[in-house]
């Protein structure tokens, strides 16, 4: 073998060790234990190895990425549709609540007129009017007439209160 390598043959023992470690690292992908200089040489080797071909993602890699990301893509679709459904439900609920509030407020405003309609006194029965007339006449029977009038008035008040309660219990 012709010797073009006198210079390299005179390498120090340390350089020979580093050169052997570099060769092993490049051949076997084994961890290179050595100086920082050896790590620097491996960096340069990586640069040169990658410079020989274009730094391009292989054609067809997009399909691999799409397949790899498919579960995340599906989960994202589900999240988005759930969010849309929640938004629609919230909007509908808010609209319904607003409608109900408006309706209830309107009813409350109208309620006094209904109470007012229930307020007028019922017509006095004829026996009550007769008892009043008897009590007003006076005389020896006044005490008995007043007692009879009192009874008639109690009936009348009871009848009136019942009509009020009946009016309040009605559904709007």
């Amino acid at each position: 073998m012709k010797s073009h390598d006198e210079d390299e043959e005179n390498a120090s023992a340390e350089e020979l060790r580093e050169a052997a470690a570099l060769a092993a690292a490049l051949e076997d992908d084994a961890a290179a234990t050595g100086s920082a200089g050896l790590a620097d040489a491996l960096d340069a080797a990586a640069l040169l190895r990658n410079a020989r071909a274009p730094l391009a993602v292989p054609a067809g890699h997009e399909a691999i990425v799409t397949a790899h990301a498919a579960p995340a893509l599906d989960a994202r679709r589900v999240r988005r549709s759930r969010r849309a459904r929640t938004w629609i439900a919230t909007s509908l609920a808010a609209t319904a609540a607003a409608g109900w509030l408006l309706f209830a407020t309107t009813l409350n405003h109208r309620a006094p007129s209904r109470m007012a309609a229930a307020a007028p006194l019922p017509p006095a029965p004829a026996d009550l009017l007769a008892a009043q007339a008897e009590a007003a006449r006076g005389g020896s029977q006044t005490r008995a007439a007043l007692a009879a009038l009192d009874l008639k008035m109690r009936d009348y008040r009871r009848q009136y209160q019942q009509s009020l309660r009946h009016g309040e219990g009605r559904e709007p």
Binding site: K2, E8, D40, D43, A46, E62
Partner: protein
Amino acid sequence: MSRLYRAFAQPLYARVLLPKLGDREAAEDVLAETFRIMLEKLDKYEDRGGSIWSWLATIAANKARDVERERARRGQALRGFAQLSAPLFEAAAAAPGPGGDRADAARLQAAVARVMDELNPRYRRALTLRFLEDRPRAECAELLEVKLATFDVLLLRSLRSFRERWQALTSAQTPASDRIPVTA
């Protein structure tokens, strides 16, 4: 999803993942994982606003860091070249534009060619055979007419020389004031 992929997959791969991981297969895996995480967190991002490129680059860089840690734990030697390529990409615009992927690759290859031209011819030959032509170590030694152990020393010195000249070239090309960070 498809629009986001077309806009950002290539620059994420070329500027962030491949330089950090130094391995195409790992970079492709982390790219897929980046898009999965992006879909999971897109709602939060939309609420917060901000640059989508910076956000995606941060996700990708974090995932790449996880892979690096895992490699270190397993004692794997694969290394990235982010430290070396960063000045080149930082000199370009922060956010990738149309055709940015081709520009990145062209910039990297032009810089490699320029540094190779400046190297000692023996070093250039060793690096070309081993890395650019991807020949086995024994074949490289045979073509260079040296012993295997001698080729190993030659390769170590060639890589160190390449790195030195690369750093000189990229630091001369990109004054610090012009640098724009690649990631947020």
